[in-house]
Each structure stands twice: as structure tokens, then as C-alpha cells.
Amino acid sequence: MFRHARPLLPRTFWRFFLPTLCVVAAAFVAATAITYFTGLSIFTANHARSAGALLASAASGYRHAVSDIDEFRRHHLALQRAKLREALSDVAAVCSLYRGLAASGRLGDDEAQRLALAWLRASPASGQSEPAILAAAPDGNGGYRLLAVNRPMADAPSQLLRDLEAARAAASGDGLAEPPFLFATSVFSERTGMSPHLATAVRFEPWNWLLVAGLSMNAYKLAVAEKESAALRGFGAYLVQVASDMGGELVVFGEQCEVAATSAPAMEHHRLGGVWTDRCRAMIAAAGKNGEDRQPAQGSLAQPANKGPREVFWSMRIPGESLYAGFVIPGSLLAASAREFVDTLVITGLSAVVVLGLALTLLLAGLLGPVTALTDAYRRVMSGDFTVRADENIPGEIGDLCRQFNAMARSLQELLQTEQLRQVELDEVNKTLENQVRLRTEALANKARELEEANRRLQEMDLLKTNFLQNVSHELRTPLTAVLGFAKLIHKDFQKHFAAFAKDDLNLFERSGRLLRNLEIIISEGERLTRLINDVLDLAKIESGRMDWNDETVDMSPLLLSVAETFRSRSVESGVELNVQVPDGLPRVVADRDRFTQVMINLLDNAFKFTAAGEVRLQARERDGQLCVEVGDTGMGIAADELAKVFDKFHQTSRRDTLRDKPPGTGLGLAICRQIVLRYGGRISAASRPGEGTTISVVLPAARLAPQAEEA
């Protein structure tokens, strides 16, 4: 029963290993989940911080770009103004020259004015880069009269001149003051197209002329536009640079969603559809909610047609500008970062679990190895090998266990050796005992054989006895037959033929009477001898088991009544009443009809024999499934010391004196009755009070018959 297959690892190992591994794995899963969500929020916060920094960078970069452009514009405007001032001072110088000539008298004043105007007309004005110059004089009606111009003009510049004069007068009374600068588009535009110009004017007092110079702003505007474009490109490049590591798109846009710069120019197509507008409006709304706070607002956007995870954005209004900066990052990117983090965590965790499992395996194997060895040792001890020993050099509790085990094994070994010695002694004793038993058995067998022999001899003797009795009875009967037969013949013949002769002689009459009485005694004793022979033979046969029983189911009521009927005449003769109480329907019994009749005759005969007066009672009844028959009398009774012996063989009452006139019995009747009743499982008993009467009871078990047999 201990030899089942050994598992690769002890079962205890699995009992510890698997739960520990499960707990570790569960802890790992929980830690991973917590880390994942915590990590996600940390990532989001990080991204928010990065986005804030990015947006701040974008805002400051944009401010730099704007200030660059302003600087550039101021510088160029100053250059333009200088250019205009230079041109006017040139014209004023020429006018002064010609005025000086006129003053010196070399030229007439008109001539000088004409020459100056001619110079003015001839001064180069080709292209847009050279200023247009004109001279005008008040016409006395509040307006101005155009004197000369170096370029064809679209319109009379009266209004401009008025404005300039007003501005100049307002600025300062003297000509040293900074001349006013006004934008004049309509005056200097050509017929081919509008051309914005910057204009300024000085007054040439000697001639009361107003000298005006206008310079086309197209070049300036172009340059400014180029500068703006370059600045924005630079800003865009800057955005690309700062946002390159973040994976999202950094974009600066206006109130109307016009994009100022973006870190993802390739995504330009996004701007075309409503997608960008939606996104832009969401970012503006989020930034607006945040108010003037410098902190960027965070929000999320659904992907178009809900494809993929939502996008996350941070947006803010650039302070002092009607512009917004936004950083949009795809949610998937954020999740991917977190996933990457978690992947790393999972790989590390799984490695940790595997390492822990291996460590646990080694630990448990190391711990349980000695236990397994101890179990093996135990099994070997169980199978009878007491020489096995566990490893005693193991430290700790298991070592203690091994040492205890070894001590036990040693004790067992010693016990076994003692036991073996004892067994040897016991075997010796057994051997002796066996010898004795054999001898005794042989003696017993001899004795049994002797007994068997004796028994056989006894049986033979018994058979011999029965045969002898049968033979004796046969041999006795023949002479008895002759004796009885002749006695009866003589009695008959004598009565018939000789008694008549004795009638007349008294002496002879008495003699013949005595002769007849003596013959009757011979007959009576002969009959008694016959009964004795018959009874002895019956008893011998019953006792030796050679009696032929004719067993049948007997209906007792008719049998008892018919037996009683045979005693009627005797009752009348003796004057003893015969009281019969035999009901119908008594239970049937299994018995030999003739033998049971013999029993009843015997009992009734005894009752009449010992009863002088009164009655003889025959009663039968059923009691507890048994047939109970009682024969009672009012006779002399039986003394208590005799009562126990009435069923013994050859027992006859010692009080012969009361039966002097009755024929004596054989002393076997009740013994035979008892044997017959016992043969059928019944019992017979006697109860008596001396002087009052005797009751003999016979109890027989009722026959157990099948119903149909009972019917039959």
C-alpha cells in the first residue's frame, strides 16, 4: 500500500509553491494595474508640464518674432524718412542755390524760379525706389497751385498739401523742426494701380513754395512682408525644434483660426477642413475658460469619425496678443507611452515572478528533500528494513526529526532483534509443543479408534441383544402358544364335556371349579407373559432405534373417542364412571396411530386398575398450539417419592396389597408410553396426591401442515 508512484516533486512543494506563486502573481497584477493608472496620470501631468513649457516657449518665441518685425519696420521706416528728408533737403538746397543766384543778381528771380522748377522736373523719379517730388505755391484761395513735379500724377494734391501744411504748422513754426510724415496713397498712385506712399513737405519761405516728397511704400511693405515671413518661418522652425521630442503638434493661431505657425507644416491639409476649425474652436474655448491665467488649459478632442483614441490638447492665449498657442497630442501616443512603461513593468515583474518561483522551487526542494528522504526511510522501515537511517547532519527542526526517527529506528531494530530471539525461543517451544501435540493427537486418535471400536462393538452387542431378544421372544412364543393354546382348549373342553358330570357331586363340583380357576390362572399368567415379551421387545426396539414407525397426521378427536369407547364395558363392570371430555376440532398431530392408541390404552388401563371408586377422566384440549391430553382418576394416588420413578422401566407400585385382585402389570407400560411420546417431540408427566388420585398429562406438538394438506 506504500508503493504508489513517486511524484517528481513532493506534494508539500506544490502546497506551498502554488499558493505563494499565486499570491505573488496577484500582487504583481494589482501593482501593475495601480502603476498603470498612476503612471498614466503622472504621464499626463508630465505632458501637461511639458505642454505648459512648450506653450510658454511658443509665446515667448512669438513675442521675439513680433519684436523683430517691429524693429525691422521701425528701422526701414526711419530709412524711408531719411531718404525723403534727404530728397527734400536736396531740392531745398537747389532752390536756395537758385535763390542765391537771383539774390546776387546773376539771374532774375523768375528765371531762378524757372530753372529751379526745371531741375526739379528733371530730377530722377524712375521706379519706385526714388521719391516723387513736387513743388506748389498757395493760390491765395486757401488752395495750392502745382508748380512742378518730377513724375506724372493722378490727382491734384490740394488736400494732401493742406494736410501737410496744417501738420507742419502744428508741429513747429520754424523749418528746422522735423517735417511731418503722412501716408498719401491717392496722390502718388499711378493710373495703373494704387500705390501707397509716405509723404513729407517743407516750406521754402523765400518763394513761399511748399516742397513735397513722396516715396512709394511698396518696397517697404515687401521688405516688411518678407521679414515677417522670415520671422514666422524662423518661429515655425523654432516650434519644430522645441516640439520635436514631444510627438504632438505645437500650433499658434489667431482668433479666426488662421494658423500663424506650426511645428507640423506637413499637416497643413488639416487646416482645410472643418476638423481644424472644430479643434481650434475647442482650444480657444478652453483657453478662454482659463481667462488671463498663464496656466495652459487642458482638453480633449474626438478623432474625426471617432476613429482611435481622443486627442489631448493644452492651449493658452498668448499674453498681449490676439493669438493662441495650442499643443495637440494624439491620445494613442500618451497611452502608448504609458503602455510602454507598463510593458517594461510587466516584463520586469514577470521576470521577478519567474526568479521568485525558481528561488522558491530551490528553497522548497532544499527544505522538502530531507522530508522526502525521511518518508522513503519510513516506507523502508514499514516494509521491514530497520537498518535504514535518515541524514542526521541536517540542521534545524527537520534535522531533529531525522535524529528522532533514527532513534526510533534503532529502538525498533533492537526490539526486532529481541523479538527475533524471542521468536527463535518461541519456535523452539512451539516445536516441542507440536511434538507433544502430535504425540497427544496420536494418543487421542488411538483412543478415538479404540472408542470407535468399542462403539462398534457396542452397536454389534446392541444388535445382538435385539436379535437375541427377537429370537428369544420367538422361541418363547412357540411354547407359550402351546401352553396357552392347550390351557384354553382344556378349559373349553372341560367346561363343555366334563363340568356337567360334576353337577351332582358337590365334592367333584368344587374340584372341577378349582380346576377351571387354576386353568384360568395359567391362561392369565400366560397372557401376562405374552405381554411382557411384547413389551420387552417393543422397548428394546424403540431404544435401539429399530422400531418401524408409521408416521402420519392423526386426527386426535376420533382416535381418543374410539379408545374411550373400548373402556365403556370396563367402566360398567367396575362401577367407576368414565368421564370423557374430548371436543371436536382438536389439532392434528404427527404420530403412529397404533402406537398412540397403545399409549392411550395403557394410560386408561392404569387409571381403571388403580381406581376402586369414583371416576376416570379423559380430557383433551388445545393449548398454545399443542395438544394436551390428560387422563385423571380418583384412585389411590402415587406417593411423592414414587412419582419420579413411574416412567422407569420395570417400576411397579410397591403397594401391591391394594391390587390383590387385579392382574399384575409388566412394569414397562409407562416406560413405553414415555418413549413413544418423546419420539414425537412431546412430553409426559404425572401429578398425584396420595389418596385423591393421579393425573397423567401428555402434550404433543400440533402438526404444521400446508393448508391444502389440512383440507385433504
Binding site: T478, G485, T530
Partner: protein
């Protein structure tokens, strides 16, 4: 016509007792009484005299009563011979044995002479 009665018994006193018992029939009805001392002789007399009734002992030398009874009953010519077995054996089994062998009646020794006479009268119908 009066028949014959044969008495077969090896005991001479029993033969005498039976002869004297049956004498009455001889006197009153002219019945002839024959005797035999053993079974063999009894068979010869039965074959020769053809008696109406045979009183037959069982335990006899030479041939016992059962054998005689069986032989008589096996012979078709002697079917009307009535046999009364007389024996000391009183057991039921012996009685059955005798009746099986073909005997008409079975009387147990010691028998009552009056009973024998009565049986003989009945069998002879006198």
C-alpha cells in the same frame, strides 16, 4: 362340499394344538385336517390335496412360509387356496411382508384357539 384344511408347522405341539382346535370342524362339517412338518412337505400336500385353507408357519426348515405362500400364489392352479400365516413375528413390517406374499390373514403367536376356529369357519364359509 366341505374342503380340506392343511396345517404346516415344524413344531409338533403347535400342529397338535391346531389339529385339536380344528377337530370341531371335522366333526361338524366333515372337513379333512391335513398336517405337514415343513414347507417342502406342505408344498407337496398343497399340490396333491389342493386344500381350501392353509395355516402356515413362517419360520420353518427347508422352506419358510413366505416362500410357500409365494409359490402357491404364483401357481395359477392354486389361486383359490387361502393362506393364513401363523407366526411369532408380530411386527407391522412382517405382517406387510406376508400379505405381499399373497396371504389372506396373519395370526400372531400365541394365538387364541377360538380365533383360529372362527377364521377357519369364515374362510370355509361354514
Amino acid at each position: 362340499m366341505p374342503g380340506k384344511i392343511l396345517v404346516v408347522d415344524d413344531e409338533v405341539h403347535i400342529r397338535m394344538l391346531l389339529e385339536q382346535t380344528l377337530e370341531e370342524l371335522e366333526d361338524d362339517h366333515g372337513v379333512e385336517i391335513l398336517t405337514a412338518g415343513d414347507g417342502m412337505e406342505g408344498m407337496e400336500i398343497i399340490a396333491r390335496e389342493h386344500p381350501a385353507v392353509v395355516f402356515l408357519d413362517i419360520m420353518m426348515p427347508k422352506m419358510n412360509g413366505y416362500e410357500v405362500c409365494r409359490r402357491v400364489k404364483d401357481d395359477p392352479a392354486m389361486q383359490d387356496v387361502k393362506i393364513v400365516l401363523l407366526t411369532a413375528k408380530g411386527q407391522e413390517a412382517d405382517r406387510k411382508h406376508g400379505l405381499d406374499a399373497g396371504a389372506h390373514m396373519y395370526l400372531t403367536k400365541p394365538f387364541d384357539p377360538d380365533k383360529v376356529l372362527q377364521v377357519a369357519k369364515e374362510l370355509l364359509q361354514v
